[in-house]
Amino acid sequence: MKLSRRIALILTLALIPIMVLWAALFFFAVEREVVDETDDALEEYAELIITRYNDGRVLPALNSGGKNIYTLTPISDEEARHIPREEYYDKEVYIPEHDDTEPARVLSTVFRDKEGRYLHLEVAMPTIEKDDLVATVLTWSVVLFGVLLIAVVVVSMLVFRGALRPLYALLKWLDGYKPGEGHQPVPNETNIKEFRRLNEAADSAVKRSEAMVESQKQFIANASHELQTPLAVIGNRVEHIIDHTSPNEEQLEELVKIQQSLRHSVRLNRTLLQLMRIDSGEVAESEDVDIVTLIRECVENCSEVYEAKAIECAMHLPEHFELRMNETLARTTVINLVKNAYVYSPAGGTVTITLDDRRLTVANAGDAALDSARVFDRFYTRTTREGSTGLGLAIVKAVADHYGFKVSYAFTNHRHTFTVEF
């Protein structure tokens, strides 16, 4: 759920009860005021009738078409004692004109005339108008508070979006960030303190992780570098034993095996160094390299070296295809792809190399798909093979990344297919 939605939801949920309570209180206040007003009017009217009656003046006509109705009934002293002096209540009153009863507000009072007789006066006012008023008030309360609620939510959303723009800018920047590939500075064009601090924190976190990646790279490079001399020393000592101490056949065989393992370590080390150099962009200058020539040369060598596997190679190549890149890296890339195909192809299989439309595909038969997410990872190897460094495809990937090529792997029709899009 987006933060803005969540805030809108919380705002709505919190405001609804408050608004409802607010509207209810407002409604009851208005209604009360209306009732008070009615009561005041009734009281005035009752006073008018009492005064006129006592003065012997003419009383307002009963049901004169006016809004108010009254009844004046003489009562005994006994009855007068039971009726409260003044009382307001709601009651259904018969309206002769409509020949029907209608809800009305009634003031019942008892007074004595000049002769000291008790009279019971009931003044009534139909409440239809009051109900109308109340209904109107209720409708408007609901409408107005509803509109207010929507307005509050919409405005806060707009304000929120506007205020959070630096956050979205930061998120966009974070999405685009790839560790170890250098970075654009964090956008920090806000003067809001919290966001400034957030941006600064992101910036320093990224710098720290960059520094860490860098020091790790440096470490691997240094370690590989430092290993070179001791490896060479071991190799040369073994060589010395072989050449100068006349070992017997068994000893010689062991020594040669030591040399082989050692060479593997040296190669691994050298490849790691190369990988590190490419990664850190230490690539010597570019020149125009004809990829087609490289492929032909590579296929020729592979066919020679893997002659025993009797692999056929189907090439679909243009006359020339020149790329501007470092020759050594171009060669390494082509060799690794083609050699892989030869090494992992079953004996008697066919390796297919196609180059067209700036796209090189190398395919060989295989039994099962490789883990396409990891196939270009360092030290991802399909089988433990003597001599395999597990870095060949990682180098291909590193070179591709350096020059902005795209490498991919697919397994279709029981063929491993590696593609480089230049």
């Binding site: 001399t229 060479a232 000592r237 056949e249 070296v305 002659e307």
Partner: protein, 227 residues
């Protein structure tokens, strides 16, 4: 022939010294910049093996010092900093050769012989063993006074052996040296046997007095034919 070994790594320095001495050269060692500088200023050498990263300074500085002094010593740079820039800088400063670490001692000896011979003969770089003479730059091989035709791989194999006479070469090493990265994952060396067979046949037919001998099941050695 006096050779100065400027190398800070004791173990490597010792190995180089032993190997170079066994070839009949006189050696001196310097383990740091100051010692090396003192020796270079004070004595003359036929060849200097120069490491680039040294305690107290850079081998490249020593090299430029040598050139400033107008000295013509042969210098072979031996460096673990296998970067193109270093190589170019070294050669521009007048080094005769550049050998990236890690290297084989036989390789080093071959390079020393080569630069010393070049110094004497004034440019010719041929390697001569018995009646076989091989010129790496023109890729020509003469046996006696007859030139023989070798295919590319056959030539590469012969060159590799001639740089290491009397030295056991494992077939895997040979495959990697000649076929480079292509061969490092191969587990069948039929292609090596085939090339060796052809090369032997050609040497034999041309009357060479060197031969490539098989040593047990796994290696070869280039030797002068026994009389």
């Amino acid at each position: 022939m006096k050779i100065l070994i400027v190398e800070d790594e004791p173990s490597l320095s010792e190995l180089i010294e032993r190997e170079v001495r066994s070839e009949g050269y006189v050696t001196e060692c310097a383990r740091d910049y100051i010692t090396a500088e003192t020796k270079i200023v004070g004595y003359n050498y036929d060849c200097i093996l120069l490491d680039i990263s040294l305690p107290g300074g850079s081998g490249l500085e020593l090299l430029s010092k040598l050139r400033e002094m107008g000295r013509r010593e042969n210098v072979i740079i031996i460096s673990a900093r296998d970067s193109v820039d270093d190589r170019v800088a070294g050669l521009e400063l007048g080094a005769d050769d550049y050998l990236p670490k890690p290297f084989h001692m036989t390789e080093l000896i071959a390079r020393i012989r080569s630069v010393l011979r070049r110094g004497r003969t004034g440019g010719s770089l041929t390697i001569d063993i018995g009646n076989v003479s091989l010129d790496p730059s023109s890729r020509r091989v003469n046996i006696g006074d007859r030139s023989i035709e070798l295919l590319k791989k056959e030539f590469d194999i012969l060159l590799y052996f001639m740089q290491r006479p009397d030295h056991l070469v494992d077939k895997v090493v040979l495959a990697e040296a000649v076929w480079g990265d292509y061969a490092d994952e191969s587990d069948n060396f039929q292609f090596v046997y085939a090339q060796i067979k052809n090369l032997r046949r050609k040497l034999e037919a041309a009357g060479a007095d060197i031969e490539i001998r098989s040593i047990y099941g796994f290696g070869y050695k280039l030797t002068l034919k026994a009389e």
